[in-house]
């Protein structure tokens, strides 16, 4: 967990995480939308197709596996606007995992999971995906800290 005091501090923190190349971590952020004219599955599989010239068959299987892990396997053929916030977050997570970078930075999960008690959803999703990625960090504002501590 990384706590930031204000917006400039958060931006600086994200820049640090991205590193000099800008590609040190995979960002899951409200500023990184899904491609709207592709289905959820295509959005995820595209990474493998593009970077590893994986054939569609294989890439889509990988993507489907990741979506199944998040518990949202049924949304594969839906497009961005038909997804709920949680579903969209799951697709973004899967997409970030496909990049196979050392770190996954989750920027302001509050903004991406506004309708649910997001620390819990986030924890659940990270738990079921824990075998798929190496490390993660969550960047959020300091005033949201109590939300993470709240237990039902």
């Amino acid at each position: 967990m990384t706590w930031c005091d204000d917006e400039p501090a958060r931006k600086a923190q994200i820049r640090t995480l991205l590193g000099e190349s800008g590609y040190a971590c995979a960002l899951v952020s409200p500023d990184m939308p899904l491609r709207v004219n592709l289905t959820a599955l295509e959005n995820i599989a595209l990474i493998a197709q593009f970077h590893h010239a994986t054939p569609w068959q294989q890439a889509s299987e990988q993507a489907q596996t990741l979506l199944d892990c998040t518990g949202h396997g049924d949304i594969a053929l839906k497009r961005d606007e038909d997804l709920s916030m949680t579903q969209r977050f799951a697709v973004k997570m899967a997409r970030a995992i496909m990049l196979h970078r050392a770190l996954i930075a989750i920027d302001r999960p509050a903004l991406m999971l506004a309708d649910v008690h997001y620390p819990e959803v986030l924890r659940a999703m990270l738990t079921c995906l824990q075998h798929e990625y190496s490390d993660h960090c969550v960047v959020d504002y300091i005033w949201n800290r109590p939300v993470y501590e709240y237990r039902k």
Binding site: D31, M32, N37
Partner: protein, 242 residues
């Protein structure tokens, strides 16, 4: 100038064999489907109607004035070389050019391109080049098929249903089409295809990231496409008749 550089970059991308991974192949297929295949039946009907009407007028007017021998030259020089390419490029510009401009502008405003860049996906390779390829193939195919159908229509209008004249007709038409003219037509059509896709993409990317500027970008792009089409047409005519 910037447009030229952009076009050159896309050409570079298009000529790299690595570009053609499964995702790009699929999106090129989709682009060709949406810009060419889907448009084909409607456009063919539309160009057939125009060809029939124009050729009918040409033939009957020429008969009235005793100028029948100029009709094939007029069909080739006016309909085949000028009107049909112009109609097909206008069709593609209105149908796909406007769509491309809007989509790219929205992608740009919506940060989707930034997301692609973050994922190290080259938008030129995945988004721009397939659209340009689809547009060029579309304009080429529409022009070629409408030209061939116009020639067939001209045969029926001039000779009726008498197939015995076909050899004679194709021979005289072939004499009117030197290879330089055919290559000139192909070059012009490819240029048209480039201008109805490159200009909208470039214009869509140029605007500041403001949603209300998307319509402005589309109208700007369409104006530029129109001027480019007119410029190419005038340049080709000047080149041909100078």
């Amino acid at each position: 100038m910037a447009l030229l550089r952009f076009g050159f970059h896309l050409l570079e991308v298009a000529l790299t064999p690595r570009t053609y991974d499964s995702a790009t192949r699929w999106i090129i297929t989709k682009q060709i489907y949406f810009t060419a295949v889907q448009a084909l039946p409607v456009f063919l009907i539309y160009s057939l109607v125009i060809s029939v009407v124009l050729i009918q007028i040409m033939v009957s007017v020429a008969r009235d004035f005793g100028l029948s021998e100029y009709v094939p030259g007029l069909i080739v020089g006016f309909l085949l070389m000028e009107l049909l390419p112009l109609l097909s490029v206008l069709f593609v510009a209105l149908r796909s050019g406007a769509a491309i401009n809007t989509e790219i502008a929205l992608m740009h405003v919506n940060n989707e391109i930034t997301a692609f860049e973050h994922a190290q996906i080259d938008p030129a390779r995945y988004e721009y080049m397939p659209r340009v390829v689809g547009g060029v193939i579309s304009v080429l195919a529409l022009t070629g098929l409408s030209a061939l159908s116009a020639l067939l229509v001209a045969f029926f209008v001039i000779y009726g249903l008498d197939w015995s004249n076909l050899g004679n007709y194709t021979h005289s038409m072939a004499q009117l089409l030197p290879l330089t003219l055919v290559f000139g037509l192909i070059a012009k059509t490819v240029l048209y295809g480039l201008c109805v896709t490159l200009i909208p993409i470039k214009t869509g990317l140029e605007i500041p990231k403001r949603l209300f500027l998307v319509p402005v970008s589309v109208l700007k792009g369409m104006m530029r496409v129109f001027f480019a089409i007119v410029l190419i047409e005038v340049a080709s005519l000047t080149f041909k008749y100078m």
